[in-house]
């Protein structure tokens, strides 16, 4: 059905990579032109090297064709992926899937206008046709400048030894089966466990009309575990996640069995939990994945497309105070092993670390080339796309509230009646009004300065500008989640990291049922 249908709500963050069809990977071997020998095995030896077809000369010709009628910028983006998906359900390896999507697209932009065309076949003539179609958006504007692309040398932000994606299938099956057994061992009340494993190796080649030519290879893995506990008529599901742009050594630091048990324990904690409260109250949000809050509340509203259209509530507020003086927000494409990390973005700009908010003042927007061009600024290296079938949009990478100075335990003191969000689900935002929401998977009551009993999930809602003024404390326990963020916008899903330390808000509206 429509691959990219209009969605009325602009964005959502999704647990895990279940529906993704997309999953990127980061600068493992970076710009290395030499592939590790086993990488070829992972690609099964069936993909031709992208650069065999798209050498400097052919890329030049395709870009010249793209700019034949004028335009401010053109790029060629080629991609091939090798994806493995393994699902365990009902104690059985249900299915094993290989995916091999491969293709290339040509984009032309002229001021605010974009032309885009792609081909599922990476062949010179097909891409010349795509360039011709993409150029149609420009109505004979300027003259054609010569294009001369040169390989760009970029340093990967971190290296990944022995990527998980390249492990043998048997090793992957073994991890999944051990996770299943571990989750079930927590209690006989755990009646159902589902493990979804996804990994990917992604090769990209980007040529740009300003002379860039970059080749990259990235790896990503995500594993989700959901465990359901049943007690009489009460039925609760707990979730946990593993993954990132990581190598085999990751499993030494993050034991898959221990993670699987966390899902089962969460389900057991939720069994018999009381309903969540309803109404406005002090709220403390747990570190790590709690960063969904900053992703929704400020992150999306700072993306260059809605900024330049003037439809974001943060349009035109550069340099102004938009949050608590304690607040510092960073978008960091270089975060080690981050789910949203990369060496080079999907339009040939190097990934970078950008301070978005400092001391409560708005320091920078999140920009791709086109939004930067129209705002008369420089791209922040945030041009990302779901696949070769889409054009780039300004997107977040790993976005977090930076470390504060408070002792996390002290953030509960003085709260007579409040809510602690221990684990969150997905969220969404309307960037025009700034009204946002995110689901709480596991919450606790705060009573007289103490975290007390667990309560059922509920949605938390607020308005970006109001909520970010109400920060009362920021812990010194920053964590950035690299296991599960999948961000959707305009029908394009990209993996992201989110993070924060423990953060306390004077008030947020909790959407429970207990008044």
């Amino acid at each position: 059905m429509p691959i990219d249908e209009p969605i009325s709500r602009r964005d959502f963050l999704r647990h895990g990579a279940v529906l993704s069809g997309a999953a990127l990977a980061a600068g493992a071997s970076g710009l290395s032109f030499l592939r590790p020998p086993d990488a070829d095995a992972a690609i099964m030896g069936i993909g031709k090297e992208l650069r065999d077809v798209l050498n400097l000369e052919t890329v030049n010709r395709i870009l010249i064709e793209a700019l034949k009628r004028g335009g401010d910028f053109a790029d060629l983006f080629a991609e091939q992926r090798f994806k493995t998906t393994i699902v365990l359900d009902d104690q059985k390896i249900d299915s094993v899937t290989y995916g091999f999507p491969r293709g290339a697209g040509v984009r032309v932009f002229f001021r605010k206008q974009t032309g885009y065309a792609f081909s599922d076949e990476i062949a010179y003539n097909d891409l010349l046709d795509a360039a011709h179609v993409a150029s149609a958006v420009v109505l004979n504007q300027g003259t054609v400048a010569p294009v001369d692309v040169r390989p760009r040398v970029l340093t990967p932000p971190f290296s990944v030894m022995n990527p998980v994606a390249l492990m043998s299938e048997n090793t992957k099956f073994d991890i999944i089966r051990r996770m299943d057994a571990a989750a079930r061992s927590v209690s006989p009340k755990i009646v159902s466990v589902r493990i979804e494993y996804q990994d990917e190796a992604r090769d990209t080649l980007i040529g740009t009309s300003d002379g860039g030519y970059a080749i990259d290879r990235q790896y990503l893995v995500s594993i989700s575990c959901s465990a359901t506990a049943v007690n009489g008529s009460d039925r609760r599901t707990g979730r946990s996640f593993l993954g990132g742009r990581v190598g085999e050594d990751y499993f030494l630091r993050r034991d898959p069995e221990a993670v699987a048990k966390e899902a089962a324990q969460q389900a057991m904690t939720l069994i018999g939990a009381d309903p969540a409260p309803a109404g406005s109250m002090p709220v403390v949000i747990a570190p790590g994945w709690g960063g969904v809050l900053i992703h929704e509340s400020f992150g999306h509203a700072l993306e260059g497309d809605s900024i330049r259209r003037g439809t974001s509530l943060l349009s035109g507020l550069l340099g102004q105070k938009i949050g608590s003086p304690r607040l510092r927000v960073v978008d960091d494409a270089l975060w080690p092993n981050g789910r949203g990390s990369y060496t080079v973005d999907d339009e040939g700009m190097p990934g970078q670390r950008t301070v978005l908010v400092d001391g409560g003042y708005l320091q920078s927007y999140i920009l791709d080339r086109q939004s930067a061009f129209n705002l008369n600024q420089k791209s922040t290296g945030n041009g990302r796309r779901m696949s070769y079938r889409q054009w780039p949009l300004p997107r977040m990478t790993n976005t977090y509230i930076d470390r504060g100075t408070d002792d996390p335990a002290s953030l509960f003191s003085g709260i007579t009646k409040g809510f602690y969000a221990a684990d969150l689900g997905g969220g969404s935002v309307d960037t025009t009004s700034g009204n946002f929401n995110f689901a709480v998977q596991l919450g606790y009551l705060i009573e007289n300065g103490q975290r007390t009993k667990p309560v059922r999930g509920a949605v938390l809602i607020g308005n970006s500008l109001e909520t970010m003024q109400r920060i009362e404390g920021i812990g010194n326990d920053l964590q950035v989640d690299q296991t599960r963020g999948m961000c959707g916008k305009d029908g394009q899903l990209v993996p992201v990291g989110v993070g924060q330390p423990t953060v306390r808000f004077a008030s947020i509206t909790v959407g429970g049922t207990a008044i």
Binding site: M1, P2, I3, P6, S8, F12, G21, M44, I46, D90, K92, D94, S95, V96, T97, Y98, G99, F100, P101, K112, Q113, G115, Y116, A117, F118, S119, E121, E169, N170, S192, R194, S226, T228, V230, R235, R236, T237, A278, S280, R309, T311, R389, W391, G425, G426, D430, T432, S433, N435, A439, R456, G457, A458, V459, I461, G462, T509, G511, G512, I515
Partner: protein, 447 residues
């Protein structure tokens, strides 16, 4: 790359798989043409013309399953993938229910899901439609700009073959108009959107009306504020009710029920809602957005009543989950070339009731009228609901001030039982539709 003879490609790949050791093989091939114009502030912002091809191969060997998909239909690549997939299958766990549907039913006919106008409409036509959307949105007082105005269509072609069913195919079309308008007043900005989507171009709401509706919705949000927490009657206006219903869909999935991940597990044959509530998943609705002649596994599609006057009558299944549950298939498998068949919605809707939507409001002395919901508020295993909503407060039977920044929550089983009015304003603009519904009492969380 359009394939001139999809049937041949399908047969070749399937035969290759069978020769390589697959006891059963299934090939699914999609060819999708997608065109959309995005228009804003008097010019075309994006012109997208895409043609997508992809092939998925599922093989079974000793009741173990493997699956591979590719966008690369090069013969050498396909040969290699077939061999790999058959080898891959041997690593899965055998399951008794792993068998492909082996009976070729005649596909459903007369669905009217393809409009030949898709072959004639031009990008210029789409630009004119998108321009009309924006122009009309801007005619509404206080509407200052748009986020986007979009007009587009998609033509899909599906080709299917498995070891027992030689060849099935169908084409379908969808056309849509979408506008998101921005109203401004006193430093406040609010967005309102309206979308219509239809199988046949001539069934679409006019762009004038879609644009104006979007504008009016944006203006209606200006000045919205939270209200204090309360337990009150809540009406979900038809579109919001359709969204609510969409969130419930997963609870009817046979797999979720079998795996205890649905609050509806074990409730078949029992009353789970008000007698006013009938829910249908109809895959053969004439011109329905979710209608199709056969499902993702080649099974015959049908109209499935899942809740009949409050009583849960059936769950929805793929071939495998139906076998596991020991029931007849429901033809509910959905998939693309790049995914395995899974239970999905066709035209999933609440049947019209008898209430006039205006009377439903008049009968409420003090309550909430919900026009929009946002976020992920469904815990289907537990049966809990909590979402961000916006709308209007109802005072003495009349729609009053706009509200936002509030939540609505409840236990889903109590909510369904507590439905005390169902409107007669069902309108099919999406795969998930409902008339307006009124819940006797829900918790509103506010400021």
């Amino acid at each position: 790359m359009p394939i001139s003879r999809p049937e041949e490609v399908l047969n070749q790949v399937r035969t290759m798989a069978e020769r390589s050791g697959a006891a059963e093989a299934e090939v699914y091939f999609d060819f999708v043409r997608f065109v959309e114009v995005r228009y804003r502030e008097g010019e075309v912002e994006l012109l997208q013309q895409s043609a997508i091809t992809g092939l998925g191969l599922r093989v079974l060997r000793d009741q173990k399953m493997g699956f591979v998909y590719t966008t690369n239909l090069n013969r050498t690549v396909l040969d290699e993938l077939v061999v790999r997939t058959v080898a891959l299958a041997s690593q899965a766990t055998p399951r008794d229910e792993n068998r492909l549907p082996d009976q070729a039913f005649p596909p459903q006919t007369n669905l009217e899901i393809e409009d030949p106008y898709a072959d004639r409409i031009t990008p210029q036509d789409l630009i004119a439609l998108a321009k009309a959307l924006e122009d009309n949105a801007l005619l509404v007082n206080k509407v200052k700009t748009t986020q986007t105005a979009r007009a587009g269509y998609v033509v899909g072609e599906t080709h299917f073959s498995n070891t027992f069913i030689p060849y099935l195919t169908y084409r379908n079309t969808q056309f849509w108009l979408y506008c998101a308008a921005v109203a401004m007043e006193g430093g406040q900005k609010r967005v309102g959107s309206f979308t219509d989507k239809k199988r046949n171009f001539q069934d679409l709401t006019t762009p004038d009306r879609v644009g104006r509706k979007a504008g009016e919705r944006a203006v209606a949000r200006l000045g919205a504020k939270p209200v204090p927490s309360a337990r009150v009657p809540v009406i979900f206006e038809a579109e919001a009710a359709g969204g609510f219903l969409g969130g419930l869909f997963g609870a009817f999935s046979g797999l979720n029920v079998l795996e205890q991940r649905s609050f509806l597990a074990g409730k078949k044959g029992q009353a789970i809602g008000s007698p006013l509530l009938t829910i249908v998943d109809d895959a053969i609705l004439r011109r329905g957005l979710g209608s199709r002649p056969f499902d993702g596994e080649g099974s015959q599609t049908r109209r499935n009543v899942v809740v009949d006057r409050g009583v849960l009558t059936r769950y929805l299944h793929t071939a495998a989950t139906a076998r596991r549950d020991g029931v007849n298939p429901t033809g509910s498998a959905w998939r693309g070339y790049d995914s395995l068949p899974a239970v999905g919605a066709s035209n999933f809707y609440i049947e019209n009731g008898s209430s006039k939507p205006s009377s439903m409001i008049e009968q409420v002395p003090n309550g909430l009228f919900v026009t929009g919901t946002a976020g992920f508020g469904f815990d289907l295993a537990a049966g809990d609901y909590s979402q961000q909503v916006e709308g209007n407060w109802i005072e003495k039977g009349k729609l009053g001030r706009p509200v936002e920044g509030i939540t609505v929550a409840g236990k889903i089983s109590d909510m369904l039982t507590g439905i005390d009015a169902v409107g007669r304003d069902l309108d099919f603009r999406s795969q998930f539709c409902s008339p307006s519904i009124r819940f006797k009492e829900l918790t509103v969380g506010g400021g």
